[in-house]
């Protein structure tokens, strides 16, 4: 990763965090909020590999935890696992296509929110999630798929602006 890309990454993450806190983040479908930060973690995993997916997931999890009452670190743990998983699945087994990205995002969204609920249950914390987990998992999975399809090309463009290079191939990234 060049120095310029290192500088761009925090700015992009800050923008994603602000976007999630904007009115767009307060959208609800059947009373459920789409998880933009989770979708962004998946997108980074898909584009940049498992390691960057994990780091980005961790940082975005810190942001999510900063606004929530849950113990600090819960969202970080979940998002980093999903970001890493997205990168791992992408580089090891999936063919490179938008459809593959969609499948990974759908699975990642569902696994992420189910994992979050699991961790909170282990900690004995009752949240809104517990009441209607199936609906939350379904909506989060679908919205993560949609958001990833939108976010991934934008991220690919932003990460390569000024680089003078073509978008990196996902094949072998981060291995």
């Amino acid at each position: 990763m060049s120095r310029l890309r290192y500088l761009k990454l925090p700015l992009i993450l800050l923008a994603i965090s602000a976007l999630e806190r904007s009115q767009l983040g307060t959208l609800t479908i059947q009373g459920i909020h789409p998880d933009i930060l989770l979708a962004a973690s998946i997108s980074f995993g898909l584009l940049e590999g498992r390691e960057v997916g994990a780091v980005v997931g961790f940082v975005l999890g810190i942001v999510a935890d900063s606004f929530a009452q849950t113990p600090f670190g819960v969202s970080s743990l979940v998002y980093l696992a999903v970001g890493y998983g997205a990168g791992l699945i992408e580089v090891t087994s999936m063919p490179e296509s938008r459809f593959a990205d969609l499948v990974v995002a759908l699975i990642g969204g569902a696994v992420g929110v189910a994992f979050l609920d699991g961790v909170l249950r282990i900690l004995g914390i009752v949240t809104v999630l517990s009441n209607n987990l199936v609906v939350v998992v379904t909506v989060t999975s679908l919205t993560s798929g949609i958001f990833t399809l939108v976010i991934a090309p934008i991220l690919r463009f932003l990460m390569n602006v000024g680089e003078g290079e073509r978008p990196p191939s996902r094949r072998g990234a981060g291995i």
Binding site: A18, F67, V113, L123, G174
Partner: protein
């Protein structure tokens, strides 16, 4: 971004997991002050940029929100049309409602605004989280807001401040499952514990003695008993239903909040904290 940060993705993963688990362990029971400070810095960094995005994405929000909530909008429209018809034809009931509202307002002034300082805050967003039901307001430490301050509207209790940064605060709404407040009834003796239900806009009142004489529409207030985190006399909600199930050890009471928790624009933060023992 093909080069690795530590050249070892698995080591990075293990390190980050360890850090996350450590943070959970440290903040599980009690959040240390430095974590709250860190949270505050993150919030202060994100909040100013958020406003710009809100302006940009407002039209997108309206389109998507309208598309996904079309049936809701349709039913709301129908409901509003019915209300207009009812208002046109019901001048008497309207005046009755105004009298009732005046009574409630008067009562509000007597109970919880007397002697308690307030800060009016604007709701800047509903927290986009499926984990908690909360709002963010544009007043923070710089305006004297503290964690634990109750938040109200002129109609009743909204919730309490759970996080504060310099220029914004998070308010846990009374419909969140982690919300709990001791309450008493307007007409009946006895107390209970109002708990949010999460989904939907209702609360459960627990620990009410079976056979307590409660009527639908009766207003429920914060009890302010010793150890309570709200001052006494703040209207919480109206009783929607109350019954004792056969063999039940407590009354099943459901409340509808008086404050419009789904559509808040301005709230008052009460500069009040529970007395320390």
């Amino acid at each position: 971004m093909s080069s690795s940060i530590f050249r070892r993705p698995r080591i990075t993963l293990v390190l980050l997991i360890l850090v996350s688990v450590s943070m959970i362990s440290v903040t599980y029971k009690r959040v240390p002050p430095f974590v709250n400070s860190a949270r505050g810095y993150v919030r202060d960094m994100v909040t100013p940029i958020r406003q710009g995005f809100t302006t940009v994405f407002n039209p997108v929000y309206n389109v998507v929100s309208g598309a996904f909530n079309y049936s809701n909008l349709k039913s709301q429209n129908l409901k509003l049309q019915e209300e207009i018809a009812s208002l046109k034809g019901g001048a008497i009931s309207n005046s009755y409602a105004q009298t009732e509202l005046a009574k409630i307002s008067k009562e509000l002034h007597i109970t919880y605004l007397k002697g308690i300082g307030t800060t009016t805050a604007q709701v800047i967003s509903y927290t986009p989280s499926n984990v908690q039901v909360s709002i963010e307001v544009d007043k923070g430490k710089s305006s004297g807001v503290q964690v634990g301050n109750p938040v109200v509207t002129d109609l009743g209790l909204v919730g309490r401040v759970v996080q504060v940064s310099n220029f914004s605060s998070t308010v846990l709404l009374l419909t969140d499952p982690n919300f709990a407040a001791g309450v008493r009834f307007a007409n009946a003796a006895g107390v209970g514990l109002a708990v949010g239900e999460g989904s939907g806009d209702s609360l459960n009142v627990q620990l009410v003695d079976p056979g307590t004489s409660l009527s639908k529409g009766e207003v429920v207030y914060t009890s302010g008993l010793s150890g309570e985190v709200y001052p006494a006399g703040i209207p919480v909600g109206r009783i929607m239903s109350a019954y004792t199930p056969p063999g039940g050890l407590q009354e099943q009471v459901t409340l509808s909040p008086l404050a419009p928790v789904g559509n808040l624009q301005f709230v008052d933060v009460l500069k009040w904290l529970p007395p320390t023992p």
